[in-house]
Structures are given as C-alpha cells and as structure tokens.
Amino acid sequence: MTPLSEAAALVVLLRSGRRPWPAYAELVEDAGSALAVLERQATDSGEQPSLFHEPHEPLVKAAEDEVATWEASGMRLLTVLDPDYPDNLRAVHDRPPLIFVAGRLEPSDARSIAVVGARRASPSGLRRARAIAEHLVEHGYTVVSGLAAGIDTAAHTAALARDGRTVAVIGTGLRRNYPPENGQLQQRIAARFAVVSQFWPDAPPSRRSFPMRNAVMSGLTLATVVVEASHTSGSRMQTRIALAHGRPVFLPRSLLGHAWARELSARPGTHVVDSPAEITATVQRLTSTSALVV
C-alpha cells in the first residue's frame, strides 16, 4: 500500500495542480514519489503560485486525515505508486493517478473483459449481454461494466448469478449511486468484488465523467465487447478509446445493420464475432505471450 503521506501528497497535487490528471500520473511515476513532485512544484516559482505561497505540509496533514476517513469507510485508495494499482491500467497512456476501490480488486481481475452497451436495450440485446457475461465467467474472465441501466446491468447480474467475478467502473464518486435504482447492485458488487471510481468520493455524475470512466474501463480490461449501442452512445465512445489504447474491440455480427457498426468494423483492431466463444478464443490468442507467428 502507498504510505499515507504519499497518498495524501497526491491528493494535494491533484486538488491544486493545473495539469491534466494523467500528467500527474506520469510525473509521480517518474519521480517515484508524490511528495517529491509536490516539493519540486512548491520550490519551482511561477509554476504553482498558490502552492508557492502556502506551505504544503499542513495541506498534506489535512489530506492524510481525509484519506484515513475514506479508508475507514471502506474506500481503498490506490495510487500509481501502489503495487496493487492494476497493471492493465498502468499500461494505458491516460491512466488516472489514483482510483478508489470499494471492495477488492484481485490479481485475477487482470483477466477481464468489458461488456458495454445501451441503457435502453432491446430484449435481444439484454439476452446477448447475459449470454456473453455467462460465457466469460465460465471461462474465468472477470466481467467489467459500467453499472448503467440496460446492457451494463444485464452483464453484471448475469455474472453474479453464475457466481463469477464482476467489477463495476462508475462515472461518479463511490458515495454516489447513479442511476439511483442501481444502488443495491452497486452494494452487492462492492461487497463481493469491487466497484472502481477515479473520481472524488462525493463527485456527482457529469458530462465529462462518463467518457473518463470509459477510458478506465477500457484500461482495466483486455478487450471491450459492445453488445448493443445507439449512434450517440457512450459505448461507442469506449470503442474509440479502446482502439486508441491498442486493445481489441468485439462487435456481434447482428449489429452490422447499423451504419456506425459497419464503420467501426472496418477499423483495425475490431473483430466481428458470431458467438461469445469467438471472443474468448481471440482474446486468449491475442494476449498469449509465448511467441509470435506470421
């Protein structure tokens, strides 16, 4: 676990800094210490006038108390300095410098696939989401989704029903429930597995938070499956992000009736599949690291 003062220093950095969050992930990883980055900024005149004028020690002390309060209420803070910060996520360029986890991520969650799709899903879409989640669970994959209504809920609940692992990555802080009707599902997943958020615990949902959440969902997983999506959906956003991460995207052939799906299927890294078994076979092959063939 990250020493408390390091976690607290990162909290202070993120609250007072002006750079995008992933830039702090890089700075802190390179320095191997958030305190060191904070100290450098404080002595680096012009960079952070507010920090320059305010000594950071009291801020770090206050943040230590805050982190302790979060941890006491069951929210574990994982920073990029923490060996338990997920490696899959570490390997994407826009990883967040910290995540909050309710419950517990296991090393086996590295073997995970994101199942995403529309909130207003069709009955056949929901059936397909369940079938995919069940298949993934049977093959030892953790089902990662976004706890939204529709496809996400179907994927999480099907995995739970089969006693498989499922992880929710949410677009709000961990103290919030969005949508409210999934509050119970959120608690069930946190109690048995993990709910992950890159936002401050009280952060409300916002237009920007959902695409950011999609980047974390893609980063945590080996691949993304889009079960069903409308032409404006966040699921399509996630496919763009996954491809930009160099992670494969899977699309059921039945979606090719939609223009957006045909367009997506033409992009390198996208696989059109006829069955859930094709997804696991392809992921298994793509992530095997023993050798490479032409």
């Binding site: 570490r90 390997a91 590295a110 160099g246 095997s288 490479l292």
Partner: protein, 251 residues
C-alpha cells in the same frame, strides 16, 4: 499464438508514419522550422548511414507510453507490450528492410544488434534484446549482442564513441541497429561509432518511435496532417517517391 497482422492492427490506429518533405529533418525525420536538418542532427555526430523511424512517438500518447512501459513494467502486462512491439518491428522489417539496406548502401544486413540501455541495471536483462533476439522473425537469427556499456562516465544524452564498446571485430559486416526510441540520436550515433570503430560496414538504425512533443512549434498541426490509419505498405524511406509524384497511381 497471436499473428503479426492481428497484433499490429491494434497499433495501426495510433501509429504515425514519418514522411520526408520540406521542414522535415533529412536524417531523423524530426519536424524543423524550414531547415533540412533538425538542431540535434545538424550539431551532432553522424555515424549512422541511415536512420529509419517506423512511427512518430508523441510524448504522453499511447505508442510513447508502450515504448516506456514495455521495459519498466513487469509480469504479463510487460510481456504483452513486448510481444506487440515485436509484431510492429516484424511487420515493418518484413516489408521495408530492403528500403533500409538500399538507403545504407548495402544488399542486406548480416548482423542485427540493439543499442544498450542507458540504465545499467536494466541492461543486464533488457527486454529489447528478447524482442529482437527471440520474438521478431526477421531479426532473431541474425541477432548478436555486439555492444556493451563501456562503463566510461558519459552524461545520459551525450554522444561519445566511448559510451559503448564492441565485443568483437566486425570485419566490414553491415549492421542493422535497433532501438525503441530516437530522441536526440546521441545513443544510437554513439552505438554506430562503436560498431564502426570495430570495423563494421554500413550501419543503419531502425527505431520504433521517433520522439516528438506535440507542444513544440508547429508539431501539433503537422502531426494532425499525417494520414491515418498508419500505412504499413510505405515507410519513411520508400514513401518519398509517392509523395513527390501525387499524379502517379501506386496501386
């Protein structure tokens, strides 16, 4: 086992192919403000006969991140990045090693080696040697660890012919030098100097990423001008003709 084609497809969306042209450094394909050579190439030593970057690697973007993390992470995630980067190298050399050889003035490269790491601890078991010496089909049979860090105190990014030393005499052999990233070129040029002082024939460098900062001068605009997705059929060296004769169909 993954195939080269399906793994490289994953990088095709974000790789950015360098192309010769006005305000592009004639040595390393860096963007310049109207000069034929970038500052580092104009002011540095030029021991390499050819520099062939596969892609631009833009700071804090995915290829740059992969090129830094394949050697800093450990376990399965690092292995996955290593296999992916090997696929990139494989596909590129399969299609374009002849372009590199021609530009360096040789028919073929007898030997393939890597630039030693500037991090002494890492150099002991550098994953780049696993990529070039074991994973990558076109290089593994010709790979030999020809260079060692000399132990001479040389600043990180300074050129010095004493930075590395060759393990044996090279008797005129053409050598293909592989590195993950080209920033100023000081390390690759130092490696080329050590190889040539040991008697190597033509020495060319293939690097996966030519490092760039998007914020520098016109870089952002110029990077946006690069055709996407990445075109594996043309490389920085062979695309030039296409560039200069837009009226000609190339299939």
């Amino acid at each position: 086992m993954p195939t080269v084609a399906e793994l490289t497809a994953l990088y095709t969306n974000f790789m950015l192919g360098p192309r010769a042209g006005p305000s592009v450094c004639g040595e390393c394909f860096n963007f310049t403000d109207g000069y034929q050579r970038c500052y580092a190439c104009a002011h540095g030593e030029a021991w390499l006969d050819t520099v062939a970057p596969i892609s631009y690697s833009v700071a804090r973007e995915q290829l740059h991140h992969a090129l830094a993390r394949y050697k800093r992470l450990s376990g399965e995630t690092a292995r996955r990045l290593q296999v992916e980067l090997a696929a990139v190298l494989w596909r590129h050399l399969d299609a374009h090693e002849p372009c590199v050889a021609a530009a360096a003035g040789t028919d073929a490269f007898e030997l393939v080696t890597t630039v030693p790491s500037s991090d002494g601890q890492r150099d002991g078991r550098h994953p780049l040697r696993w990529i070039v010496g074991a994973l990558t089909g076109p290089t593994r049979q010709r790979h030999e660890r020809l260079l060692l860090r000399s132990g001479q105190p040389v600043e990180g990014r300074e050129f010095s012919p004493q930075k590395y030393e060759a393990v044996r005499s090279l008797a005129g052999a053409p050598v293909l030098l592989i590195d993950d990233t080209w920033t100023t070129g000081a390390n690759a040029q130092s490696a080329a100097a050590a190889l040539k002082l040991a008697g190597a024939g033509p020495v060319a460098a293939v690097v996966i990423g030519r490092h760039l900062n998007r914020e520098w001068h016109e870089n952002d605009r110029r990077l946006r001008g690069i055709t996407r997705p990445f075109d594996w059929a043309h490389c920085a060296l062979c695309a030039e003709d296409v560039h200069l004769s837009p009226g000609l169909s190339v299939g």
